[in-house]
Symmetry: C2
Subunit: 263 residues, 2 copies
């Protein structure tokens, strides 16, 4: 991977359970934040069903477009865990059984015999470099620019945290955020002018209801800290001139963004 | 839209704030469940950034493939709200200002003047049929098979609930779900056999940690209630024979699927 400023990623959430509404995804947000921290920009997420043709085609489309692709889900022992077969098919490679993983799983399972189903978790596309699973033993892996992780959030997080040092990030996106109890329409003209003056900063406006009152958070993202600070001063001046009381907001604080999404 | 058995949908989440990790999406799960209730199968979700080329290309790709496309986000008054312009470009149509919406917004805003930014919320792609917004007045809309909703969850939900009677669903996916404290690998062979005997049922296996113990939920989905009940009896017999104590699980109960995702 060459060193560059903008390094991109795509997350593929593989799982009927998200699409059926049974399960609320918790991996996208964790990965979005974690990738941002290492200078990798999450540029697309796709949630796709457990359908081989869909998984293979999506993998091949996305691994050609993005620097990194992360998949979550479908690497367990049951019949609906088909991610590894699909990764192998997408790369046009065979599968191999890793004896060290067989031993690991046998040790983890203690006296329970390793049936064929469990042995599938020791079977990987050729070329896979394993990613340690400190939670439940069965590893994830990396193949070229594709990282294949489990879907269970605790396991996915452990795998990502263990593997992220293998991802070479670019310039890290920094951010400044303020909240204000003004209408979006009130601040829109000034915000648009500010965006025009700072084309290198990405300015987002996110309305949210808090205690039945509409407010708005303005988030400025960019790679130049000084530029962000200068824009922040202008932003606060603009909001104050409109009668608002802008408050600094920590993006890391989930309470600061309780229900929001772009209107 | 012709009447048919399998009616599909795709959700496009338009918003940098989801990709940056600032905001945890709450719309996908609501839409997944709501679509399922009316016999529409959510088959793909894409989260894409506020980039016109990406939005336009994705819209055109997805509206050709799926029966319905639902977009969330980007219809507010600020410079980063570009969904409507992109929808118009995707359909190759112009935009029009709806005077009834101008009046509605003016009435909602009371004494605040409608600046150009707010008037953007009364401007729609030609052919748009408006979708009422009981929360904050500015409407969503439908254009052909594309539904354009707000991103703020409270508003999005109200728009979907108001518009869903316009979607003609197919056969409704029913489900049966049981949880059991057995390893996935233990139940995998029997589950695979069951899946082979019931090819019309989609059987999913979802491990989850509860109070530090691994358990698994088995979800069976299909359109034939009697067939599901027959398969459920076989499933429970199989799990009991393996030493488990299968418990019926309500999929509607979020506590039943606290952290899960396909392994």
């Amino acid at each position: 991977m060459p060193e560059k400023d903008v390094v991109t990623a795509c997350v593929l959430v593989i799982g009927n359970e998200i699409l059926s509404g049974r399960t609320q995804d918790k991996n996208i947000n964790y990965l979005a934040k974690g990738l941002n921290d290492i200078g990798v920009r999450l540029q697309e997420v796709r949630v796709i069903p457990d359908v081989p043709e869909t998984i293979i085609a999506t993998l091949n489309e996305c691994r050609a477009v993005f620097d990194y692709v992360i998949t979550t889900g479908g690497i367990g022992p049951t019949h609906d865990d088909i991610t590894s077969e699909c990764v192998a098919a997408a790369f046009g490679v065979g599968m191999f059984r890793d004896q060290s993983v067989v031993d690991l799983l046998q040790s983890y399972m203690k006296n329970t015999p390793l049936n064929e189903a469990r042995l599938r978790m020791a079977t990987f596309p050729e070329g896979a470099e394993l990613v340690h699973n400190p939670v439940s033993a069965a590893p994830g892996y990396r193949l070229d620019n594709v990282f294949v992780f489990a879907g269970v959030p605790q396991i996915m997080q452990a795998m990502f945290d263990g593997a992220k040092n293998q991802m070479i990030g670019g310039a890290i996106m920094l951010s400044r955020s303020v909240s204000v109890e003004l209408g979006e329409g009130t601040i829109a003209p000034g915000l648009s002018e500010l965006q025009d003056r700072y084309p290198e900063i990405d300015i987002g406006s996110y309305p949210a209801m808090r205690q039945q009152r509409f407010g708005v958070s303005v988030v400025m993202r960019g790679t130049d800290s000084d530029m962000l600070d200068a824009a922040l001063v202008e932003l606060k001046d603009m909001l104050t001139a409109l009668g608002g009381e802008p408050k600094d907001e920590s993006i890391a604080d989930p309470a600061a963004a309780p229900s929001g999404a772009d209107n």
